[in-house]
C-alpha cells in the first residue's frame, strides 16, 4: 500500500523541461504544450486554484489537510481528490507526519508557468 509514494505518473517538470520560453515570444512546441497543459488544467478549477493558493501562501510553506478541508463546502474525499490532481500535476508535494498530512507547493513549476505567460512590457503589443 502506501499509495502516496507509489510510482504515480507524476510529471516531473523540474527535471528536463527547458524552463519555458515566454509564450508570446516564440511558438510553444507540441511537446512542451503536452507537458505544461496539464498543470494549467489543474489550476483551471476554482477549488484547486484556492487550494493551491492556500498551500503556497501557508505559514511554514506547508498546509495541513485539516486546515484546507473546512475552508470549503465540500466533503473530505472531494478535497482529497482535488489535492491528488494537484499532486499528479506536479504542483504540490504531500507528506504524512503522524496523524496529519501536509502539502507543500513546488515553486519551480509555478515559476515555469509564470515564465511561460510572462510578457515583457517592451514590445508595443498593446492592442
Amino acid at each position: 500500500m502506501s499509495k502516496q509514494q507509489a510510482p504515480l505518473p507524476l510529471v516531473d517538470l523540474n527535471a528536463d523541461t527547458p524552463c519555458c520560453p515566454p509564450l508570446a515570444q516564440r511558438r510553444v512546441p507540441a511537446e512542451t504544450a503536452a507537458v505544461l497543459a496539464p498543470a494549467f488544467k489543474a489550476l483551471g478549477d476554482p477549488v484547486r486554484l484556492q487550494l493551491m493558493s492556500m498551500i503556497a501562501s501557508a505559514e511554514n510553506g506547508e498546509a495541513c489537510v485539516c486546515d484546507l478541508t473546512p475552508a470549503f463546502d465540500l466533503t473530505g474525499p472531494t478535497i482529497s481528490h482535488h489535492l491528488k490532481t494537484l499532486r499528479e500535476a506536479g504542483l504540490v508535494d504531500a507528506e504524512r507526519r503522524g496523524t496529519w498530512v501536509y502539502y507543500r507547493a513546488r515553486p519551480q513549476i509555478l515559476r515555469q508557468l509564470a515564465g511561460l505567460l510572462s510578457i515583457e512590457p517592451t514590445a508595443a503589443s498593446q492592442r
Copy 2:
C-alpha cells in the same frame, strides 16, 4: 444573427478584476478564483496552449485562422471551437477583415495570470 458580436458571456477581466495579488502571497478569494480559473482551464489543453502561443507570438500581433488551422491534425470546426473557448475565456479577440478572420492576444489577462503565479525569489520558500 451575426453571432460573433452577439453578447456572449465573455469574461471581461480587464475591467474590474483587482489585478491579481500573487497566489503564494495571500490566499486567493473565491470570487477571484471563480473569475481566473476559467482562463487557466482554457490554457489547460495542449492544442489551445499552442494556439494561444501562435497568436501571441505572431508577427503583427495577430494571426489568421487560415495559418492556425493547417498547423494541427484537426478539422477546421475543431480549431474554431478551441478558438471560441479562448475567446470566451477573454484570452483573445477576433476580428473579421474581408475574407479572413484574425485573432489577437489580450496581453492584460496574460499579465494577470503571470502575476498570480509569480513568486518572488526573496522568500526562502525553497523547501
